[in-house]
Symmetry: C2
Subunit: 343 residues, 2 copies
DNA sequence: ATAAAATTTTTACTCGCGTAAAAAATATGC
DNA sequence: GCATATTTTTTACGCGAGTAAAAATTTTAT
């Protein structure tokens, strides 16, 4: 890091005593040059910090070394967690990752895709909004850019889908709740943004039937991504109306459950397994904070790292395969039950 | 959106019946061309969706229309919230924003700056890690790239700093707690990652002295960004050891408080103002979930939107001013007390 | 209608790098 | 030590746009 500033690869090649094409070759693949010349370049890199102009580099490449990551709502720690794992894997593989949040709105999702298209990414990992997504826009995007969907599936779009196995989530919680106490009532939003929510409801009903029990589904109104508040208000009215036929509430996701816990607390109702508890509450996702709710939340955990690894691995396969896979695969990863104090 | 694909500006100029330089002029400033030609271009844009290749556009520009946003830990909803507000303002102003998280580590922070430097952003909004930051690296970065710091200050770095007024946060909580019950003990990490934590401790001690009260500071061990768990374990031992001399705990930040609430719950200690409560707990930040803790957390709220607005506004001034301001300013925005059930 | 002003076109060069082809230099095997 | 294989250099063009200067055109004002 000394001497005068290097302005471009030409100058850098000069100070390292090589020709520009050789240096260019090095930056595209350090192992493609003889080890002695590689050493000379790396020695020069120590003295003059030079990096190829990424705009000039990307101008010619049909595909860049960029990978786009789109999540529906980054302020939701579940997605922050997903994004973090994925980002790390991409960076380790030598890609630059570009993280975009749709902030819960389809306008923003559309803008994100638009903006990504302009970046000519090698591939995109997309967790769509779900119900609110502009399907035709996503379809158009997937035609142009190698895309792998994760977290929430949209039938037939993208080269593959990697997500959690909602049936596995729900079966584990339902089984556990049934064998350890009263049968669970299912608590959800009536019009969930995310398609996983529907899958979970269906899985709940099936699981209850398998247990020979009557399913009870409590659906509450509410729009947007303020799930905690929706859960809190919904729980207040459901409890007041006596909608929960048993003492056990299985929430569609942890954020709703956090709202339910708040409502119970506000009503002076104790939650947990012990005597003196009015309700047991369990849920799905293993939200980063569910360890710290009062009481700590029993939930079915995403295998965050497995989802990230499979998603990234699949995207790399797509990229190596020229942007397309022979047939679209759907990978569903099982959940792991985490029993805590709430149920 | 019909007809054949346009490959570059030359072709687009042809189909709109104009010359390339004129079209180029339009894209740099739509108002710089005669309104009739502007209309012709925009009509063509409807038919053939064309966008100038951003790599070619940025290759020559010394500065791009990119703005970098760096936060220390995106999985922390407080930063997710900050990032969201800032991102929106930048996008609305016609910039592309690039959001990067340092994931709590200085290596990643260094990499982020490195990666941003390569993107030649018009400006960067940086919330540094704080204690863990590589100061000399940040200094070097700020020399090269117009940078405004936010959230946590590093003496003298960047063109300006915009953050929250920690004294205002703490004065409001301390005043409120003192006038409504026993005086608060201050609960914090011994070696906080974030410099705001130190300012808050100091402000606490001064506030207590102003009230003529003996300050009690309980500092707990713990490293990293798992504040909730650090708070939980720390609270367990502090309570067991009788470190809290009064029944009121003022936490340095909400995430610690969430841990304290969990510990109290686990010990069967009721938190709140009412009779039968063992502790009152209050805190700072207004974490998006503090509304939903049990009990809901009394806290001093960041003015998220004001921080975002001032930061972005300041950065724009820096940019318009050629990357530097005459003298570095520090803007501290006051907090707003939010009284909930916990204290 | 005409001169002056504003805008657009033409032409040509630049930016920094990828990349292809042929020539030159260097390394490797026997 | 020599033929062969490998690597590097030389040369040259392309990518997609910004931009400058001069020429041509259109608009506006008088």
């Amino acid at each position: 890091m000394s001497e005068q500033k290097i302005r471009n690869m030409e100058e850098f090649a000069a100070v390292s005593g090589l020709s520009r094409p050789t240096v260019s070759k090095y930056f595209n693949d350090p192992d493609s040059v003889r080890s002695t010349t590689r050493a000379r370049i790396e020695a020069a890199l120590e003295r003059y910090d030079f990096r190829p102009n990424i705009y000039a580099v990307n101008q010619n490449r049909r595909l860049t070394k960029n990978i786009g990551i789109v999540v529906p709502y980054l302020a939701d720690p579940v997605f922050a967690e997903h994004a973090r794992s994925i980002e790390k894997l991409c960076n380790d593989a030598g890609f630059r990752s570009i993280l975009l949040s749709s902030h819960g709105g389809s306008d923003q999702e559309r803008e994100n895709l638009d903006s990504l298209r302009a970046l000519k990414p090698a591939g995109v990992l997309l967790a769509p909004l779900g119900r609110a997504s502009d399907r035709s826009e996503i379809e158009r995007f997937c035609r142009d850019v190698p895309t792998v969907l994760f977290d929430s599936n949209i039938e037939g779009m993208g080269e593959a889908f990697i997500g959690s196995d909602n049936a596995s989530f729900v079966n584990q919680t339902v089984d556990y709740l049934c064998r350890s106490g009263e049968t669970p009532c299912f608590f959800e939003m009536r019009t969930p943004a995310n398609p996983n929510a529907n899958k979970r409801r269906i899985a709940y009903i099936q699981a209850m039937e398998r247990h020979g029990q009557e399913p009870v589904v409590v659906s509450v109104e509410g729009d947007g991504w303020g799930f905690e508040e929706i859960g809190r208000q919904g729980a207040h009215s459901a409890i007041a109306a006596g909608d929960f036929k048993t003492d056990t509430i299985l929430c569609s996701n942890d954020r709703l459950a956090i709202g339910v816990l708040a409502a119970c607390y506000e009503r002076g109702l104790r939650v947990g397994r012990g005597p003196g508890c009015a309700f047991r509450v369990a849920s799905h996702d293993d939200h980063p904070f569910s360890r710290f709710t009062c009481p700590a939340l029993t939930t079915a955990a995403h295998n965050y790292s497995a989802v990230a690894e499979r998603s990234v691995k699949t995207l790399f396969e797509v990229i190596e395969n020229g942007g397309h896979l022979r047939n679209r695969t759907e990978t569903l990863l099982p959940a792991q039950l985490v029993v805590r104090a709430s149920a």
